[in-house]
Symmetry: D3
Subunit: 237 residues, 6 copies
């Protein structure tokens, strides 16, 4: 039995709210149960130095947690003077996932920066971030088309993410904090709406896992992501 009473394949309630704040070209509040992340997409002209003159765009991401988004207060990274390894790892993952969704050559020499800031954390902040960031990115690309900056939409497909893991011996989908903190294996999957994989990151926190368990987790993740992509589509209608 999962602490939340969910069945193994059951996701938490998911809500995706667009135009959550007023300044950004895309602004999305994504909620996976009690996990809440604000994702804003900013469009700026120009590209980083290593891309100058190559006729393509760039998509990048930054991630942060508000100090008291968690059970006990975390230090503020701005105050301690650097982003921790976990933060850097997550924002690199978000950025790679978003770039996979976009044809950068159709973006022109423009950069889109997606900020994912966790307002409240209850497990799965990175998968919620990717899911919300993709909607914010879609909004920013639409904004560019409406403004006439882009002629065609550079988005290849929507991407979404979910966590899966082995909790008390049973593969489960979309772990909350209670499950996540005691799971034996923890895996994050990023997939496209076409059912293909962009990222798979699995870690044995306790016992190593077998290939059979890996297959079960993949199966759970695949069906979870399909549902999440439905939520994205409904939000974008």
């Amino acid at each position: 039995m999962r602490p939340s009473g969910r069945t193994p394949e059951q996701l938490r309630p998911i809500t995706i709210t667009r135009q959550y704040t007023c300044h950004a070209e895309g602004s999305v509040l994504v909620e996976f149960g009690r996990t809440k992340v604000l994702c804003t997409a900013t469009v700026t002209e120009g590209v980083p130095r290593f891309l100058k003159g190559k006729g393509q765009g760039w998509v990048t991401a930054e991630y942060g947690m508000l100090p008291r988004s968690t059970h006990s207060r975390m230090h503020r990274e701005a105050a301690s003077g650097k982003q921790g390894g976990r933060t850097l790892e997550i924002q690199r993952l978000i950025a790679r996932s978003l770039r996979a969704a976009v044809d950068l050559t159709k973006l022109g020499e423009n950069t889109i920066t997606v900020d994912c800031d966790v307002l409240q954390a209850d497990g799965g902040t990175r998968t919620a971030s990717i899911t919300g960031a993709c909607v914010a990115l879609a909004d920013a690309l639409n904004w560019m088309q409406e403004k006439g900056t882009l002629k065609t939409n550079p988005m290849n497909f929507m991407v979404a993410a979910v966590s899966v893991g082995i909790y008390e011996g049973i593969p489960v989908c979309d772990l909350d904090y209670d499950e996540d903190s005691s799971a034996e294996t923890d895996m994050n999957l990023v997939m496209t709406e076409t059912g293909k994989m962009i990222e798979i990151q699995g870690t044995a926190e306790g016992e190593p896992f077998s290939q059979e368990e890996l297959m079960q987790l993949l199966e759970l993740g695949k069906q979870g992501i399909q549902q999440i992509i439905q939520h994205q589509r409904q939000a974008l209608v």
Copy 2:
């Protein structure tokens, strides 16, 4: 005429939402018009080193802006490796204002840290922060009393803050971004519910101001703060 159509003494709509997030001992979303700040109060045992063994508590504050809370994206302070001068100045102001509201000797050897994170900025983020932080602090102190950590409530009085300034020659109250960015004089006032002053910080951005103008600004600020304190009281009922 003010850009928003308000009269000189008119505040923006103010809302104060308690228990906005679930983990913190006090969690308040404060809105002054389009300015939205999330204020969370965290209680921890112990005090900073310079207070150890003195039998009193401590109240401190940290402030940050989400990168795209503003018109154009600001860099993320965690990524650039330090908090800017404006950030440090504001969080020192918030902390001093809150400490003035509390009898630290009644707090025991406990520390309350109030984080003010700006989700959306439209002028007056520091005055909104102080206003919301005081409600979050009140909630945290109530939590301590309910838990039995405190026998008496250490709060002396509520404090609230408002900005006043001279915009196109006319003293106005609670400036939004359009006014703030072109005001000749900009002043922030922090006052108690008993009508006394805790902080006054006024700056001539353009022309120096006369003592008469200062008096007008004080008068406007005083009546604005009285209304804001009404909002705090209603929120705490």
Copy 3:
């Protein structure tokens, strides 16, 4: 009775020594009693990036304390790797005050940087800094005129500053360290030689203060600044 035996409105002995060091375009040692600050003004061609091509100049300031300018040794900010919040706050205040004294459009695309380094501290280092910095700035502007870089003098008026506060219930002017460290209210005033205000920063360290007390402090500060401006004028003869 004040610890120093001064009357409430009495300033400490003030001396302003120009050309204190040999390299800077303006170099002033300012002394308010035992508080000694070396203020040097440096002229450089060009302006910060945000002003390029706007046909105006810039005035900025930096502030520091020698490690043993104080009663007990402070850490060296260069060694600890960052300037503290108090330092940043003070140097922002000095810079704003100096900019208010100058017509930046008459300065051409030049930058003047004023460094205020405290050799010995006994309260009031920020007000002494502003007072001395304004003289160093005047010297640097004269140097530019003599050199032919400037045709007209961009200085609008001299500015000076003083601290006022409520010490043992009585409003006093130009607090030394003994008074400052136990004052109930502490206020810094920056005014022009024309009697107008540029900055007012007041803080209730203990009890909140009333508007009546504020008026008394303003009155004390105004007459103190008038005397300080006399010292500036005599120094510049």
Copy 4:
């Protein structure tokens, strides 16, 4: 055809040299073809603060590249003042992999730090690092047993790692730099000598990949790791 002329499943020549330097409790030079990593294991008494008094040990890792281990010179991270995101991500991966190999409760309150420093890079530095680090760790644990610090050997099983990827449409094992820099999909696998998985990290650099491709990569990786573990065993005889 692979640039090196290898068959898809063929590893590069692997050599593992123990006691490569003289001070460390474990010191291993691992070579995967032209990739050369020096792995040293250091034993220290005590554990990090978060583990104090829990009666268990800790294993951690740090990773670095010499500035000219690569084709063009990289900046020195010590000089630029921080470790980059890639570095932090890799050293977290190495550390997790090593901890999975060890029963920390049998280690006592001791810490083993494994440093992986890349002398020469030609793709696969993280998988070579894990492979060599595990041998250095085994040596350090043997050293502790010989010295009498440990009664039983805390090592559960050897772990090794290999990269797999899709290069020009074909799944291949142990990618060198030429392959790595143009692979469509890149995956790192960490497995135990018992054939179970500890980490799987796969990324679509170009096209998303299908589950069938994932299966092929897993199969290639599994047989590659079995061979690598043979090299570890021979080195430890």
Copy 5:
């Protein structure tokens, strides 16, 4: 002919002013011609961690230049977030020189920190710093004896320093900035009042130098230091 008209062996006018500032246990302004350095010695109880419980004391030093102590303004090290290599090198040299002058076992578990801050620079700031720092250290040790903290004086002998160099082919003593910036060889000597050497640091800036030239520089330096030690003795009377 030297730019200053001095003979090759002639020092600049040297003045040593004690009690230059009021808070430090030793406070000395040392002037070598236009080079002016403020040296303050601070006594604190306790020693750095690596010396705890060894029954001995410690002497350390820090060095800094005010931003406009030089011809053109240098950046402020506190603002740029780190001390440069030259600064660290000089403060390490000062500290080693002072420790050589003191019997640390007679100092008890106390630390003396000497801050050398350059108010005005015209060549030879490091040798002036050592010379002044030694007088400030002597004053601090006397203060400790008067206060009863020390029973015997831990000072072994006075130390002083001078620069020598080859300027336009001729060995000269106590180089000013004009000489220093174009000297072919530059050497700093630290010696005791007993005529022995503590530090010798010579660098060929242009042509390498012969052993014969080294001998000439040593001879010049030795007689220069003897004169400087006379100035120290007179100052301490």
Copy 6:
């Protein structure tokens, strides 16, 4: 008797291995007994800003120690966020020594960066670094000539370095760690193959030293460097 059984003037076995790694334009492993340093020289087009347009090149150096190159593990400078004073001092020394060996005007607007990374430390890492770096530099200059970037060889002469010191009262050459850590006087000499001096850095760690002792050390160092230069020459054949 020296701990190693060497006679006072006897060097440790010296080996210089060229082409130790494959990417750098010059790559040398230098061994002075158990001290092993990897020196790589990197050629890049362009010069630092302060040299732009002056028609000359630049040679610089960086130095680092692997964390477990030493008896007990040192912290990793990249992780602690800055290079220590000793590191900066050594890399400045290496760079100055190399620049003395090269006619920068013949180098064109190119920069050569030599990285010296200590794989194993047993005393004398800075002198081994200079010795190996000079060979790596020679290889890089040859590479530039072969490539046609340079018409003439800018190298004036080879430079090499050795440490000398007074160990248990007796002057000895090429100190290992056991000697170095208890020597009374420690001196590093950098000389040219023509027998002239580039750097002399001597420090009295215990007793100050006399000029007679200095002469003995110089004599020992001179003959040691002559032998080391023979090793450089043989390596470059």
